[in-house]
């Protein structure tokens, strides 16, 4: 398979006439804007019933009584599922065989461990009957006091944070570094619990046929969901067929199958009919994950030139009482700024909440807003411009590990964004800028970064004798346009025009495409697609170069180019023939090839791989009222090869707007006594509206990275949040002179 290798190393060269790099619009856009896209909850198999969750209104205790009779007596109610009659499972939902197996609440007992935990499921002929049936259950509880807030329980050092990284890490001697410093700062920042709030609630439509399961449900990880469901029900994974053609957002909350989705499957088993279960908005505040609150203290020391002598980042966070996910906020300090001494540590409390989970830029987002705020404080303490300070502390190698970067165009990001923004005229001191209407105006910046991750994926490619191609991979499109980007990679991989390629994804019956998360989906599934294309082209080239009737005879695989549905001799492009001719002469209706995508362990050892960016923000603050508006955002990002600039830009926009949201809007307000979330709806859980983001600009900075993968792809899905949140906070300081230390920034913090 020498051809695959050579293609891998020079994808651009071998795949001319490229679809990659074109700003195509979303291929599913038309379906979506016309309402024709069928989301999970739009399915209605014949005979389907509606299931509605009854959820706990207490945070901790047990369900002492449920009025099942009243619910069952309600017209249209077919069955009520409680711990007493819930069908048996093959696995304990509280088992944790590996760190990514999160414990699920599947009516295994009468215990309540967080508000909005499922305590029963009512199944009825109509949604209305099921809803009323759930209300009629009128649960009675034995209530225990709720543990609420970061001071609500005893803290401990977790065994691992994030995906299992060490909770405590250091290099060099931080205390000595601080002691030797000329200037020091210390500051504590708080970030609240946040909820993913994808537009589309978690929904599932389930039909059992014997031991075979047919499921429509949004998933960011079809194969993982398939495996988890198979394990819980003791059936073969290939008997679990999940379709997830469209997701209305996921942001991490649909990465793993959640308890309510499995309850939908159990409900269908119990009643022996297809069942639909859709979460209500407020029911999404508990069982499907969230971003945990943090309290972070940063200490920095700087020498006389503004160089860091020490960087200490301590983060306190919270997990549930029954499972482990610890927001790795302090790890944000591992990768950005050079310092001879760096220490990061985490401690945590266990609260009566649902288990926190991955939420867009988990750890990176929370850590970034604190780190970038502290860097701003440090720059000011040294009397330096924040950009100059960041350049002074620019990391030429990854600070924590000393590894070289596989690529890092951050200087160029700083330069382009600063120039576009007009940063150079910024006064050093705060509260000096006013606009024509008298608003306090402030400029702030932040550095963005996100690791370039890859997971495991497979793809299958087919070339047909009519000259067309097929590319199959069970990839997931959360709405970001992944399938368009994948189709572009597929077209280039097959050397075909994009319209000649039938791209298939979004089903667990297709090859495992890994998870759409960690900003690694395009790189991972993209490489699988690319390699599958290379494999099938290699087979085709074998046929042609070994066939004396072919003009390519004797060229050898290395001597062949694939382009526009034809193979050409590399040394003489006038000699070539079409795929159709080659296959027809060989008497084959189609040939196939397989490819995988995975990180390269060798380069993983050698290089630190990250995407980078720089974000500049302008805010206006009403001097009397403290109301804030972000009037301008300019970001520049370098994240390797751009498959589709339109889609990449929209990821940056979305991430940057999320950063605004983090700094100014988002917060789950929890009652300090009951532990119940008070704003579990989209009227009161604020995210930015259009008027909050009048001008957002994202610049794509060219970056070649030969090490991350053959296509040179990093990830763009999450990085936009990092940097931006801090930039907004720093701009607020620059406008007002008040340093935001808790987020979201509130009006009362600025009233003075």
């Amino acid at each position: 398979m020498t051809l695959e290798l050579s293609l891998n190393q020079q994808p651009a060269h071998a795949r001319q006439g490229s679809s990659i790099g074109q700003p195509l619009t979303r291929r599913d856009g038309f379906l979506k804007v016309t309402g024709a896209a069928r989301y999970a909850a739009d399915n209605h198999p014949p005979g389907m019933l509606y299931a509605v969750l009854a959820v706990s209104s207490i945070a901790r205790g047990r369900v002492a009584a449920l009025d099942v009779e009243a619910a069952k007596a309600h017209q249209g109610v077919v069955e009520v599922m409680t711990p007493l009659n819930r069908p048996a499972l093959a696995a304990d939902p509280d088992a944790k065989d590996h760190p990514f197996m999160f414990r699920l609440d599947l009516l295994q007992n009468d215990q309540v461990r967080y508000p909005n935990q499922s305590i029963a499921v009512v199944i009825a002929e109509t949604l209305e009957a099921a809803t009323e049936g759930a209300a009629l259950l009128s649960p009675r509880y034995e209530v225990l006091p709720a543990r609420v807030g970061l001071d609500g329980a005893e803290s401990f050092v977790p065994r691992g944070v994030g995906v299992g990284g060490p909770a405590v890490q250091h290099k060099g001697d931080v205390e000595a570094g601080l002691k030797s410093a000329k200037t020091r700062i210390e500051a504590t920042y708080e970030t609240p619990a946040q909820y993913h709030n994808a537009m589309e609630p978690h929904a599932i439509v389930v039909a059992w046929d014997g031991d075979t399961l047919s499921i429509d449900t949004p998933s960011q990880g079809l194969a993982m969901a398939q495996g988890r469901i198979a394990g819980l029900f003791g059936i073969a994974p290939e008997n679990v067929h999940i379709r997830s053609p469209f997701l209305g957002g996921g942001f991490g909350s649909k990465g793993m199958i959640s308890g309510p989705q499995v309850l939908g499957i159990l409900a269908a088993r119990l009643v022996g009919r297809p069942v639909k279960l859709v979460l209500r908005r407020e029911q999404m505040y508990g069982p499907v994950g969230h971003r945990a609150p943090t309290r972070q203290t940063l200490r920095m020391g700087m020498d006389g030139e503004g160089r860091l002598t020490a960087l200490d980042h301590q983060a306190k966070t919270a997990s549930s009482t029954f499972d482990d996910f610890f927001e790795p906020a302090a790890d944000a300090s591992h990768t950005l700024y050079a310092s001879p001494a760096i220490a990061t540590s985490h401690d945590a409390v266990r609260l009566d909440t649902g288990t926190p989970l991955f939420m867009r830029a988990p750890g990176e987002a929370t850590g970034s807003i604190a780190l970038e705020s502290a860097i701003d404080e440090a720059a000011h303490a040294c009397g330096m411009d924040p950009l100059e300070f960041r350049l002074r502390n620019y990391a030429e190698v990854e600070p924590m590990t000393g590894k070289p970067f596989s690529s890092k165009a951050l200087r160029e990001c700083y330069r382009q964004a600063a120039e576009t923004f007009g940063w150079a005229s910024r006064p050093l001191q705060p509260r000096l800028m006013r606009d024509a209407d008298g608003f306090l105006t402030g400029w702030g910046m932040g550095t963005a970064t996100f690791p370039a991750l890859m997971f495991q994926a497979e793809a299958r490619a087919v070339l047909r004798s009519d000259g067309s191609g097929v590319m199959e991979t069970g990839a997931q499109d959360m709405g970001q346009g992944a399938w368009t980007a994948f189709a572009q990679i597929a077209a280039d991989g097959l050397g075909l025009d994009i319209d000649q390629v039938d791209f298939r994804a979004g089903s667990s019956d297709l090859p495992n495409a890994g998870i759409a998360g960690g900003s690694g989906h395009t790189a991972t599934a993209g490489m699988a697609i690319h390699n599958a294309g290379a494999a099938v082209i290699a087979r085709l080239a074998d046929l042609a170069t070994g066939d004396e009737h072919s003009p390519l005879y004797g060229a050898g695989n290395e001597g062949v180019l694939a382009r526009g549905g034809r193979l050409y001799r590399r040394d003489d492009e006038s000699r070539g023939e079409s795929y159709a001719e080659i296959l027809t002469r060989a008497g084959l209706s189609e040939i196939e090839g397989h490819g995988t995508g995975a990180p390269d362990p060798a380069s993983q050892e050698t290089y630190a791989k990250h995407a980078h960016g720089a974000v500049f923000a302008e805010v206006k603050v009403d001097p009397d009222f403290g109301q804030i508006r972000v009037t301008r955002l300019v970001g520049a990002f370098a994240a390797g090869r751009v498959i589709n600039p339109r889609l990449v830009r929209s990821q940056y926009y979305g991430g940057m707007i999320w950063g605004v949201s983090f700094a100014l809007h988002e917060e789950a307000i929890t009652d300090r006594r009951s532990g119940r979330i008070q704003n579990a709806n989209l009227a009161e859980y604020h995210v930015p509206v259009n008027a909050d983001v009048p001008s957002v600009e994202a610049l794509l900075v060219h970056e070649d990275d030969p090490y991350v993968n053959a296509l040179g792809i990093k990830g763009v899905g999450e990085i936009g949040i990092t940097g931006t949140a801090g930039a907004v906070a720093n701009a607020v300081w620059h406008a007002t002179g008040v340093r935001p230390r808790r987020f979201p920034i509130r009006i009362e913090d600025l009233l003075g």
Partner: protein, 352 residues
């Protein structure tokens, strides 16, 4: 949700007769009622859909120079009525600062007056709430209450009335026209909503079956059109309820205030007419110093009901600014961000 009867009466008397039965509720735009029903906060047994009663959708000029706005006029239709916006600019501005375009297209005049508080404990049926369940207690006290009332609250209830529309209306002496079993009567908006006292569940002057048929603005209300503003501070630039808002309307002649109207929103269980402040303004110099004294007078009786002391100082500042903007004159066109402190951002390309 609970099953209920749905009735669509053809006439006002039929509607009133139907709604007089216990457990009935009128349905207008439904933007508040349906949310409350879905959440189990209210569970009417009978819905009387008035949304197609024809007589209630008219805006009429009255012979005495006043205006009569039918209870079913949509919030958006009213705000975009050019004659209305010209005569009562602060009311149009308040309307357009509320909710979202979609909600304003559905929400009605009557429904806006009668929308319930946004107190989260009122919406959370697992919490104690005197307003929802008399005598149950008030979980907002000692809870998450930074947006609760600073004026007119009681230990029984510290909730606020969330309407924007009502704030300039109460300032302009609007009158609510009610039709009930005993015929038609008029109640000033100022008296229409009640402070909680010991009976927060009694939110307004309506008796069972009473239908709001119209809201009237007296002739005098239009005399403020050259100097009337609504100002609303909120936690995002649009689509958020007021933390505090104020409507200010002035008639100024030779630097002296000849007439003044002031009301606050988001501070009490009713749109808060600041009469003592108006007394300070009347006859005084139209100056920032006068406005500051008026603001002090308006907030003299304010006290925090929880973590919300900041609202008092904020309200003071909003009063001063609202009066200053009113003094500087009603803008020619409604700003692109109605009632927002940021409404003057240069480069905004649209009218509201």
């Amino acid at each position: 949700m609970r099953d209920f009867d749905y009735i669509r009466p053809a006439t006002i008397p039929d509607a009133i007769a139907a709604a007089a039965e216990p457990g009935s509720a009128y349905l207008a735009g439904g933007t508040n009622l349906l949310d409350l029903m879905k959440g189990g906060i209210t569970s009417p047994e009978r819905i009387v859909d008035i949304s197609r009663l024809p007589e209630l959708s008219r805006i009429e000029r009255l012979d005495d120079g006043g205006l009569r706005i039918g209870a079913l006029v949509r919030n958006a239709d009213l705000a975009y009525d050019p004659a209305f916006a010209k005569s009562y600019p602060a009311v149009a501005e308040a309307l357009l600062s509320g909710a979202s375009a979609q909600l304003r297209n559905a929400a009605t005049v009557g429904g806006n007056l009668l929308q319930r508080t946004r107190c989260s404990y009122f919406y959370d049926t697992a919490s104690a709430c005197n307003r929802r369940e008399p005598g149950a207690g008030c979980d907002a006290l000692g809870g998450e209450n930074r947006l609760h009332a600073v004026l007119g609250w009681s230990d029984a209830c510290i909730a606020t009335h969330p309407s924007d529309f009502c704030v300039p209306l109460v300032a302009l002496d609007a009158v609510v026209e009610i039709e009930g079993k005993k015929g038609r009567r008029h109640v000033t908006l100022e008296e229409f909503h009640r402070l909680p006292g010991e009976t927060p569940q009694r939110e307004n002057a309506l008796e069972p079956g009473d239908l709001i048929v119209a809201v009237r603005l007296p002739a005098e209300a239009a005399s403020f059109s050259a100097n009337a503003r609504y100002l609303k501070v909120r936690e995002r630039t649009s689509y958020a309820f007021a933390i505090v808002s104020a409507a200010a309307a002035l008639v100024v002649d030779g630097g002296k205030i000849r007439a003044a109207r002031l009301a606050l929103g988001g501070v009490a269980a009713k749109p808060w007419r600041a009469r003592t402040a108006e007394a300070v303004l009347l006859g005084a110099d139209a100056s920032e110093a006068t406005f500051a004294s008026a603001a002090d007078a308006a907030l003299a009786d304010a006290s925090p009901s929880g973590d919300n002391a900041f609202k008092i100082e904020l309200a003071r500042r909003i009063v001063v600014r609202a009066l200053m903007s009113a003094l500087s004159g009603t803008p020619e066109r409604l700003p692109a961000l109605p009632a927002s402190p940021f409404s003057n951002i240069p480069g905004a390309r649209h009218d509201a």
